[in-house]
């Protein structure tokens, strides 16, 4: 299991290869990547991601440990960036490996659902003309936790 909270970009291919190569006897590897997008087509200039150093790592570790215990996983990876990101840049990725795909898919969804609402990250959209808006948490994201 590896958790990385970092400002630097990550290489999706290299991370996925290394993750898949590091697990034995896993018939399924699932990866998910989150990318900065212009949600309202409103001229997004950048996304600033703030986090709570210390708590972020603890929260992500706890979430990943819970996933490892709920599903039969060979390994799990979470990478999440912070700082200023341009549209199109990758924000984060999760990867899970398991004997069978159901465990890998479900655990990846669980990681994403919890990471969105329980890991201390906050996004701010920097728009054209100097406007800046904090992204509001969505009820649908909070509701997503109930299915687990």
């Amino acid at each position: 299991m590896r958790i990385s909270v970092q400002e630097a970009p990550f290489k999706l291919g290299a991370e996925s290869d290394a993750f898949a190569a590091g697990v034995e006897n896993a018939g399924a590897v699932v990866t998910f990547t989150g990318v900065v997008r212009d949600a309202d087509q409103g001229g997004l200039q950048a996304m600033e991601i703030e986090h709570y150093p210390g708590m972020t790592e603890k929260a992500l570790t706890a979430i990943a440990e819970e996933a490892m215990s709920r599903w039969s996983l060979a390994d799990a990876l979470v990478i999440h960036r912070h700082g200023r990101l341009a549209p199109g840049e990758r924000i984060m990725m999760v990867a899970t490996a398991a004997r069978h795909r159901k465990d890998a898919f479900e655990a990846a969804e669980y990681l994403m659902d919890y990471l969105k609402s329980r890991a201390p990250f906050w996004k701010k959209e920097i728009l054209a003309g100097g406007r800046a808006d904090w992204v509001a948490a969505k009820d649908v994201d909070e509701d997503a936790l109930k299915r687990w």
Binding site: Y52, H80, V135, A137
Partner: protein, 81 residues
């Protein structure tokens, strides 16, 4: 204890962290104390349903006791991923 603020709470109050001497028994008591300080605190803590609190880096509740707590953090609901 150390009090940390994140995202718009930090912006509204105008600082990321501060050291506070308090005898507040619970988080809610501490919030009441902070609200009474200045308008910017009253504005930041106007609606507690829009806020979350962490005690020593664990998510907690506003009625939680502050006994032995060293670090309190206030922030809006999280938006990771």
């Amino acid at each position: 204890m150390d009090i940390l603020y994140f995202a718009w709470v930090r912006e509204r109050i105008g600082l990321p962290r501060e050291r506070v001497e308090t005898t507040a028994a619970t988080v809610a008591d501490l919030v009441e104390e902070l609200r009474g300080r200045e308008d910017r605190y009253a504005a930041a803590f106007a609606d507690l349903s829009a806020l979350r609190v962490a005690l020593d880096q664990e998510l907690s509740e506003f009625d939680a006791p502050l006994d032995g707590v060293r670090e309190v953090a206030f922030f809006p609901p999280m938006t990771g991923g």
